[in-house]
């Protein structure tokens, strides 16, 4: 059977189940607020958001692959484009831009100007160290790990801290060779 043609982010987003973004945004916001109260330390909140994102990412990759028909990327450049144009679009409804490649082609930036996570959000002064959207970096890291790429994902720019866009730096640490769970004769 010939492989199915990969779909665009728009096409997948149009075809999947969607919900009112307000519900998502307010739920995320209320959760972050409660985490700040319960965990007290901003660093610990960052860590927990990243962990939640990672857990989501390792599951979301399956839905991503199943619904987008995207097959193996030839290189990290293609991976970056697929995350930005298909991944972000199909889940959050907004595409990201890929920029600032390093010379080795192992790290790039994802730039988001429109981010549904932060509608209605303003950070008080006490939250200067908070990476409010840290769940996103966790999702990317978790999802890529499931397709054999160990990455480090960090925030470079954050509009909630006064920058002009959201910029996430994705650095490829290593490609993990795939391990096949089954022996040939099984």
């Amino acid at each position: 059977m010939a492989p199915l043609a990969p779909k665009t982010g728009d096409a997948v987003f149009a075809s999947i189940d969607r919900v009112n973004a307000e519900l998502f945004t307010l739920t995320y916001g209320a959760m972050v607020r409660q985490l700040l109260t319960d965990l007290e330390e901003v660093d610990e909140v960052n860590k927990q958001l990243d962990q939640m994102g990672y857990n989501i990412g390792i599951r979301l990759i399956d839905e991503f692959l199943a619904k987008s028909n995207v097959s193996r990327c030839v290189d990290f450049k293609e991976t970056a484009d697929v995350i930005a144009k298909v991944g972000f679009k199909m889940f959050l409804g907004v595409a990201a831009a890929v920029t600032n490649w390093d010379a080795e082609g192992t790290s790039f930036s994802l730039v988001l100007e429109d981010n549904p996570l932060v509608d209605f959000v303003e950070l008080p002064d006490t939250c200067q160290g908070l990476h409010y959207c840290n769940i996103l970096s966790g999702v990317i890291r978790g999802a890529l790990e499931m397709v054999s790429m160990k990455t480090e994902v960090t925030w470079v720019r954050d509009m909630l801290h006064g920058d002009d866009a959201y910029e996430l730096r994705v650095k490829l640490l290593k490609q993990v060779p795939e391990e096949y769970p089954y022996k040939d004769d099984e």
Binding site: E22, L26, M31, R33, F91
Partner: protein, 186 residues
Amino acid sequence: MGREVAESCIDGVIIEMVSAYCNRFYGSKPELAARRIEAIGYQVGHQLIERYTMERPRFSDHLEAIKFICKDFWSELFKKHIDNLKTNHRGTFVLQDNKFRWLTRVSIDPSSENLEASQDSPVLTPEHKVEVTSMHLYFPCGIIRGALSNLGIPCAVSADISNLPACKLHLDFGDNKNFPPRMLPE
């Protein structure tokens, strides 16, 4: 139609929120975890109802407000109405959703749901499974309590899932049968 995101986004956040509170933060104190999750829901309901009722006149009685929750509010959240509304005319209302969206996609399989929890509690007993599912109910209960509270109708909300995927939500107004004018927050 306003802005939308993929349903997996909200599902992922809710599942991770419940899992973090039940396993990582308050693993040995489920009642504390429940209270925190309910509080997050309360916050969300409080804010959502504010937005959805902004342009309509005040409700004249309990029933009118509850009907609004069953129809308009539920549609915004789940794209459907509550399937059945009953009352004993003595301050208790029962709202039934025959296929409650947030439970149809929750996995109670311990092997996938609680990868991390398994370190502390390697075997999930049937009671624990029920507990894991019921933990997912504090959030919607909180949403409804928050929404009604913002309409000046304080009540207790509990859920009954003995007939999955149907979910019955019990609203109890105690002795508070006369509809009070919009009350100041406590």
